[in-house]
Amino acid sequence: MTRTLLPRRQFLQGCSAAIAAMAGAKLTNLAFAKQDSPSDTMVVVFLRGGWDALNVVPPLDGDDRGFYETARPDLKISNPLRLNDQFGLHPAMSPLYDLYQSGRAGVVHAVGLDFDTRSHFDAQEYIELGTPGSKSTASGWITRHLQATGISSILPVLSTAGQPTSLLNFVPTVSLNTPEDFSLWDNGLRDSHMNALRVLYAGDSLLHRAGTRTLDALNIVSPLSGGGYTPSNGADYNDDEFGRQMKTVAQMIKLEAGLRVATVDFGGWDTHEYENEGNGGYIAALLEQLAAGLANFYLDLDSGYTEKLSVVVVSEFGRRLVQNESRGTDHGHGSVMFALGGSVNGGQVFGNWPGLHNEQLYDHADLAVTTDYRQVLGELLTRRMNNSDIETVFPGFSGNYNPLGVFK
């Protein structure tokens, strides 16, 4: 007996417009103050583990080059790509170098969390909550941004890896790895299942809302789950986790379902040992994945989407200036951020370089933080996301807000 022979009631939801209307209605669990307004799609790439900022963007010249080479006899980057007179770029980042030269990508150095911690978990939490020093915050910085601006779209927020802290307590987040994996398995009665699940998950608890959101997302994404996505402009994503995540975000942007924010996680940056060893170099392999993923993403979306696209790359901290005995680096402080997009004032290295002399280092050990990471994110919100309410997103910070000019 095959299942398709069985007569069954039609639970189909009707045309896609009806689905969209229903899905939209389900997304109003949070009370939003304002009407939605056109803004960029903001993509936040979080590099988990604390990336080695001083080898990503090493000093090229002068005393600091000397301090750098002395501190890192086995790890120093000897052939960086030239960003300006002062700084270079790790050669494995070459896919991103073209975008830097064409003014689509910019760099902020000596940036980070201006708070005394070398704990991964503390630092990530502070950055993502947007309240350094306080963990009592009940929502993430992106959550507060979206609450301030309001949303009305079907698919406002996508996370490719669970729910990050930056989106804490933001209910309408959809998490999915790839559209291909995102379907409810069909035992021949899938419509019947979907209908029952709608009823079972109609409730107010966190679990109920997550279920309803999942059903909404299935309606939106299932047309894409057949696979066969062809990126634009010949973009050719690596078949690695980061490449797949960026491809998924590009697909969701092209759905034109009003994606406002996407968060992407990329781990493995905690390079305590043998940082430059292995096939081509351990950190070089990560940087190549990162740069290739970002460059292909930009190329793919350079089909009418990049003018409304802003990407930021952030990590919880940089690493110690001096290499350790395992030819790696331990947890440090100051880091480097990248910005990418059609409205980035690219081709520049922003920030105030503190120097690498012993007295210039944080705790006599690490690159100092001279630019609070919230300067960069605040500018992104103000200039690209139609949100000048810095105080709501980053409580207590607005008095210090002083844009660097990373975004147009």
Partner: protein
């Protein structure tokens, strides 16, 4: 195929769900309860991320609460067996906890039969045998599949056996605790050169001590090659201490982030009457790393290190030890102590610190009571932990304090199943039959975000609902219900099977949609549910028939699994 050169350094993948929040989220004090005795409260803890208010759920019978918390889910007959343990709820709970905390008294023949048929080849091996067979005599050959298969076989078998134990062992609390402690002292499956040794780590360092003494477990972990490899302790020497393990020893294994005071002058930290600092600062981490220099593995595979063999055991390597004095938590550790004493002193300081008692107690309460346990039960458990710090059954006593508490008895709705618990509880609910659970289960747990032993970062999987309430995680929980009930999980390549006979477990006299729904709702959820939810389940069963019509047999055979799947997918099934 995993690339070894990559995976060995790829240990801190802080990806996935809420890496940061999860560790810390549930530490906020419950505002409704009085603050603990201030003398016990060494330092003010940061109020951490506050999970949203929980929807109160009506209380359930003690059997349902206890079985959901102390086991991986209710099997047919479990409720009746629990209720036969005494005349009152308190008596039944007391007796069940006593049984579970004395696991040797339990008849586990069903599991043992399945385990004996599972065909495991490597799980009986000692640490030295694992190292000799799978590492020392299995030379690294990255392009050779047979090298990789043999290298990873013990750890794969451990993961399979862990599923099998969780599903079928009568020693359920042991399994719940083994999961807790592996995540507390997390070691990632694919770490460094020690993948096969994970079998020994789980068995000899964790399971052997988890109802015993914390100080002993801490030392067993500190000296186990799995941990020494995972957190880079293996190459930490006086010339350049690697502080990775030392930092997580403070932050994750003992005092916890709640006792971290940041980058501060250690002399400025307040001390207790014994001169022990109330919390730790970065300097303590560096000094601890110095105490532990020379703690490594006897793994001289290259053959060039004098005084180092290839047993795979822990090795104290004196040439690497920093012999000078150290200052940890305000305590002076003199130069030139006898072998190992610097490290042992460090572990003593940490295991006997009141901050550690509270951190461990809070974490256990979060596991067994609520995402945000009240300060009263945390302090009670911490007191038991602290007072019994020298006792050989310290951790068993802590479990008794938690499980027999008033807070435990009133905690229904405090927890939502995580993917591992959801998957195993489905297998138990359907009484599914397997001697070796097919590998597709591991793959699906990965899509849900909780592949067994595959948390890359040292913090272990999160234990608060916020971390798991995302669409991908929920969707694959639903898909597992479909795969299990439809018998789609069987793996033809390995021959591993799991079979669920739903039709055969249904009384033949029940043939209406409403009757079948009521039977399986009671069987799986052990309680009634809201009428609207029941009606939705009945509608799945009925399809084009009326709810009370007698259904034809072919309809029942076809639709019954689909209806059972919906019950397994329901929010009610996800509560613990």
């Amino acid at each position: 195929m995993q690339n070894k050169r990559l995976t060995r350094r790829d240990f801190l993948k802080l990806g996935g769900a809420l890496a940061a929040t999860s560790v810390l989220a549930a530490c906020a004090p419950d505002e409704a309860t009085p603050q603990p005795d201030i003398s016990q409260q060494a330092i003010p803890t940061n109020p951490l991320v506050t999970p949203e208010a929980q929807t109160p759920l009506p209380p359930v019978p003690m059997a349902i609460l206890t079985l959901n918390r102390l086991t991986f889910g209710i099997r047919s007959g479990d409720v009746e067996a629990f209720n036969a343990l005494g005349a009152t709820d308190d008596e039944r709970l007391q007796n069940f906890v006593t049984q579970q905390l004395n696991p040797d008294s339990l008849d586990d023949s069903e599991f043992e039969n399945r385990y004996n048929k599972a065909g495991f080849e490597t799980l009986h091996k000692s640490l030295e045998q694992l190292y000799a067979d799978h590492v020392a005599n299995n030379p690294y050959d990255s392009n050779n599949d047979s090298y990789w298969d043999w290298y990873s076989k013990p750890a794969h078998e451990l993961a399979d056996a862990t599923l099998l134990r969780a599903a079928y062992s009568k020693k359920q609390l042991v399994e719940v605790l083994a999961d807790f402690w592996h995540n507390h002292f997390n070691v990632y499956f694919w770490q460094d050169d020690g993948v096969p040794l994970l079998v020994s780590y789980n068995r000899d360092a964790l399971r052997a001590n988890m109802l015993g003494n914390f100080r002993q477990m801490l030392e067993a972990v500190a000296k186990h090659p799995s941990m020494l490899y995972y957190l880079n302790q293996n190459n930490s020497s006086d010339a350049g201490p690697n502080e990775n393990y030392a930092r997580e020893l403070f932050e994750l294994h003992t005092l916890g982030a709640e006792n971290y005071l940041g980058v501060r002058d250690p002399n400025a930290v307040e001390k207790d009457s014994n001169g022990v600092a109330h919390g730790y600062v970065d300097n303590d981490v560096y000094e601890a790393a110095r105490c532990l220099t020379g703690w490594r593995i006897d793994d001289n595979l290259g053959g060039w290190e004098e005084g180092v063999g290839i047993s795979g055991n822990f090795l104290y390597y004196k040439p690497w030890h920093d012999r000078f004095n150290k200052l940890v938590l305000g305590q002076y550790i003199p130069a030139d102590q006898e072998d190992l004493k610097d490290g042992h002193d460090l572990l003593d300081l940490l295991a006997n610190h009141p901050g550690t008692a509270r951190f461990i107690a809070r974490k256990l309460c979060r596991r067994f009571i609520s995402d945000v346990p009240s300060e009263s039960i945390v302090q009670a458990a911490a007191n038991t932990f602290y007072e019994n710090r020298a006792a050989p059954d310290q951790l068993k006593r802590v479990m008794e304090t938690i499980l027999l508490s008033a807070e435990f008895k009133a905690s229904w709705g405090g927890k939502v199943k995580r993917p591992f618990e959801a998957v195993i509880s489905m297998i138990r609910a359907l009484n599914s039959d397997s001697n070796r659970i097919p590998g597709g289960t591991h793959w699906m747990l990965g899509l849900m975000g909780q592949a067994i032993f595959e948390r890359r970062s040292p913090d272990g999987y999160p234990d608060v609902r916020e971390a798991w309430a995302n669409s991908m995680s929920l969707l694959y929980r639903w898909n597992f219900a479909v795969g299990l009930a439809e018998n789609w999980m069987n793996d033809d390549d390995t021959g591993f099977k799991i079979n669920s006979d739903i039709y055969g477990q249904t009384p033949a006299e029940i043939r209406s949609a409403s009757g079948l729904a009521d039977y399986w709702i009671q069987r799986i959820l052990n309680q009634a549910i809201a009428e609207t939810s029941r009606a939705a389940i009945v509608a799945v069963m009925a399809q084009e028939y009326g709810p009370d019509e007698t259904l034809p047999d072919d309809h029942v055979r076809y639709v019954l699994p689909a209806m059972v799947e919906v019950i397994l997918m329901s929010p009610e099934f996800q509560w613990r």
